[in-house]
Symmetry: C2
Subunit: 592 residues, 2 copies
């Protein structure tokens, strides 16, 4: 069936139901960032494969709402599909709601698969549409026309031992139950896969990059039930879970369980990370309490075992990165290297590391002007050859059984311009200022963001993305609740959180520079004023110093860099061969 | 009548009405910071004269809820009054609501004079109390027992010419009306006196420090009515207002006007700056739209005339400050100087300046350990003698017909300790970093706050107050909407705003240091990344350099200080006598 034919089949169903518009969001019932094939509805319906977007279909229009990262890609992929590109101003903002409100007549019916809407989005949509007496209907118009729709993934799951995660499932459940008591909540629904993975010390391979398992959890003071395809667990694993106080039921039974919560109870649901359809299954006699999942906050603060394991992942990742940097230097101008072949080579070095499971996200391998696109993904068509000049930006990460990494290095491939050198030095200044920040307990991400940007702002330079995001323990490379960006998110930075610091400079058509380390929050000092926190750098890999304009760095910044490089050499050299060690010694030598 | 007797009279009225608790806030129907005598209810009822607090009276308890600034003062003033001090954890937080909810029985009636509650507080109170089925009653139990209650102030008001304010009343009304159209609001009630003063180019002397007139304004697309004691205006002024499109009605007529807004209309009301009682006068058939007063945003962005006039005020204020610094230096150890006598001397120097109207707030004149209390107010009892050692902190400001000033200098009076010198230098570093910050359009106060604190945080030092507040044009020394502090207030800093930058270090029992300048937001540069803003310093007065540890300053900070002092000398010296000029030349000479 062509996209045009699919569109026509969708419109037939709309007509039969008197529906004026059909919305297809990019999500699954777990409101995931990465989707299993079963839920890749937008590529199925329109051919557009960007990771963010929404389809809106009316009887005389069909559009893909997406943001500037995907304008080129969407324009190309949508040719002849019957869909038009609608350029979104703000990433992730549901701008199509305003469009629908203006376009459609009063009282119109709008449909969507409510399993693919977060509660937050569902509430917003309902509220905005109600202003024009429009109604929202729950319809799935894709399944009836989706021949051989991929089934849900059936990859085996596996449990992590307590020695490995530092906390037992029983202890984690107890902490969640304590939080429920504070909220006076009797039940708690968790749909977000990383929360479930953390809580039950379970991992899987159901989606790309995130080692999670499709599942739901329903918890009260007496029971904790994991709703999961039971074939994914061995008998031994089932027994382990049972012993931890976890009952197991089939994945699809969550619907029945939610619909049968006894009247008079209350249920705690995170509106950003649960789907609208399931919230509606909860009987009206059950009070819904909405806030961020307690497990999201617990998960963000890593325990000593998780931190120790993560340090091991950082070491092994540092070895892979070092080998990659050596390989690049030795082979540039010798063999043909492209963005894709370089990324493959880096993955090879990571694969050689013990416990490597896969990439933690799609590697950004971006040469020269491609580096100026902060979310560039090289494709067979765009794959640029890397030459012995200008800058090569590589943002990549690994999932190891003992931790998640995320690192960006920008590498001078030969001659560089004055502007490249200055920009590089300023990004380094910002990254160092972020990494060596000292701040009182209670400080939020927006304050660290300002401190990191200041060295760039001083030169009238800014970057359009956030400074940093939370990172999981052998889990999602993007996790909340903390975030380092200019928005006023009031989440204090806690001890034990792992966050990235990754400022950048992007000059369209010329070059892009980003340098990224992961850091752990630690206590530095307690005095009459407060408890002061700071960051311990977790990422262990050399940062190019050959194009640094040292005159632009303050002494304290040079000291930080030299100390960092001394630690890099000390920690990585025992894991390297003799020649590699010599290379690293040179790469990490102090600058002045 | 003693305070005990007043308490007993209040309780009699409570009993007659079956009221279990009576609340007396510190406010007036304009939700002002400074109150006319008529509304000084807390001093009348309890003897406590602190500027922030709430009285709560039940049948078996009477307490003053206030914050740490006033613990000592309250404990002393409340002796024998029948009131106890209740220590508030957070400034301005209505912590007594929780106490009432826990203390009283379900269904209890609580009373207060609803003219003294902001809508925000009234809504919060009603909502919290309703959880226990409690009701709020509108009662004034003070007037019946307040013999010779001071009448409302009858000071004459006066109009400022358009040449002086840079914008006519008609143009300001047009801007407000445009905002109302955007909100689809038919009417607009303004109760906040600084908004009214700005909008009608009117000033007065009804309260201390703020040059405002007791009044209300009610505006729609066709009419703008100022409700004011008509005796405060001359016939000529009335004609001027009428010509600008402003009708005049007696102050108390606002109640009738609100109660008679025709059904089907909507009214825009700022819930933070209007009283609960008046919001309740609006007929139920009129829709209330709540947001920040448009005039608050307009007023914050000064026009060129206001900025030019303010610069003149800064020059004259700088002359007064310079003379004060000379006087201190010449007289310390020669005559007896105390905190109060020094403040009086400073006021004398200001009074000599053309157009000086009065202090813009109660001068903080704090020697040595008193400086460690950020809101210290010297009294006859506390008045310390200033000796030829340690630090003397003076935070003061003037109201001039052409602008409002606010400046803090910390002055070494003789020998100082290492710690005093280091702390002083770090505060100076922070102040300079704030003043020379460069930042993209859209940056909010919490980001400037972080940049200003960073030099102190680097040394594990912090201060408990905000970094800066908005300042009016010959108006309130504290005005919104912008604020430089760690809270996540999402108000971008706009060009033309005037804000203070005043970091500090406070070591209880030892010393306090604060250095404060006012700055104006200006555009520094427009480039491919953004429009970059920065600050032009408005305050023109020397900053002591004799105890600066230059080794702790970066070159860019020393450059800023030397450039600032060159400007101070250049601008102030023509206004000074020969000897004063010599002194200033020495005080402002470059450091290295």
């Amino acid at each position: 069936m062509t996209y045009q034919e699919k569109l026509s089949e969708i419109r037939k169903q709309m007509k039969a139901d008197n529906v004026e518009a059909y919305i297809i969001p990019s999500a699954d019932p777990h409101i995931s960032e990465y989707l299993p094939k079963h839920y890749k509805c937008i590529p199925f319906a329109s051919g557009f494969t960007g990771s963010a977007g929404t389809l809106v279909i009316t009887h005389d229009f069909a559009g893909v709402w997406t943001d500037s990262r995907y304008f080129e890609q969407a324009a190309e992929q949508l040719q002849g599909s019957g869909f038009e590109l609608v350029k979104q101003k703000v990433q992730h903002a549901p701008e199509y709601i305003q469009w629908l409100a203006e376009k459609l007549e009063k009282g119109a019916a709008i449909a969507t698969d409510e399993k693919l809407l977060s509660i937050l989005l569902g509430d917003l949509l309902t509220q905005q549409l109600s202003l024009k007496d429009m109604v929202l209907l729950n319809k799935d118009y894709l399944s009836p026309i989706w021949e051989n729709r991929p089934s849900l993934p059936a990859e085996p799951a596996f449990l992590l031992a307590e020695e490995h995660t530092g906390k037992s499932v029983a202890a984690k459940l107890a902490a969640v139950r304590e939080a429920l008591t504070k909220y006076r909540a009797d039940y708690h629904l968790i749909s977000s896969l990383d929360d479930i993975a953390w809580l039950f010390n379970i991992r899987g391979k159901d989606v790309s990059y995130n080692p999670v398992v499709l599942s739901f959890a329903l918890i009260n003071q007496d029971h904790a039930t994991l709703f999961i395809d039971t074939d994914k667990l061995s008998e031994e694993e089932k027994v382990t879970l049972l012993k931890s106080g976890t009952e197991i039921l089939p994945y699809e039974d969550i619907e029945h369980a939610l619909a049968h919560i006894p009247a008079g109870n209350s249920i705690f649901i995170d509106p950003k990370r649960n789907c609208y359809a399931y919230a509606k299954l909860v009987p009206a006699s059950v009070k819904i309490i909405k806030d961020t999942n307690p497990s999201t906050n617990f998960k963000a603060v890593k325990n000593e075992i998780e931190l120790g394991n993560t340090r091991k992942a950082m070491l092994n990742d540092g070895v892979a990165i070092t080998r990659f940097l050596i390989w690049l230097q030795e082979n540039i101008g010798v063999i043909k290297i492209t963005e894709l072949s370089a990324a493959a080579q880096l993955r090879k070095f990571r694969t050689e590391q013990e416990g490597f499971v896969g990439d933690s996200f799609n590697t950004i391998s971006a040469y020269k002007a491609h580096g100026a696109l902060p979310h560039y993904a090289a494709s067979a068509e765009s794959d640029a050859e890397i030459l012995a000049e200008s800058l090569f930006l590589v943002d990549s990460g690994g999932q190891y059984l003992y931790g998640t990494t995320d690192i960006t290095r920008t590498i001078p491939m030969g001659t560089t311009t004055e502007q490249e050198q200055t920009d590089y030095t300023l990004v380094l200044k910002g990254m160092i200022d972020g990494c060596k920040a000292k701040f009182p307990k209670g400080t939020c991400g927006y304050q660290i963001d300002a401190i990191t940007r200041k060295p760039l702002w001083d030169y009238a330079i800014n970057y359009g993305h956030g400074t940093g995001h939370g990172v999981g323990f052998f889990l999602n490379v993007h996790e909340g609740p903390q975030v380092f960006n200019p928005t006023n998110t009031p989440v204090p930075i806690e001890q034990g959180m792992i966050t990235s610091i990754e400022p950048g400079v992007y000059r369209p058509g010329r070059h892009g520079i980003r340098i990224e380390n992961l850091v752990q929050t630690v206590t530095l000092e307690v005095n009459e004023f407060n408890e002061f926190y700071g960051f311990e750098t977790l990422t262990i890999a050399p940062i190019d110093t050959t194009i640094v304009k040292t005159a632009l760095l303050e002494k304290s910044q040079i000291d930080w860099l030299n100390n960092y490089h001394a630690a890099v050499f000390e920690q990585l050299s025992p894991l390297l061969g003799a020649e590699e060690r010599n290379w690293l010694e040179e790469a990490t030598k102090a600058i002045s």
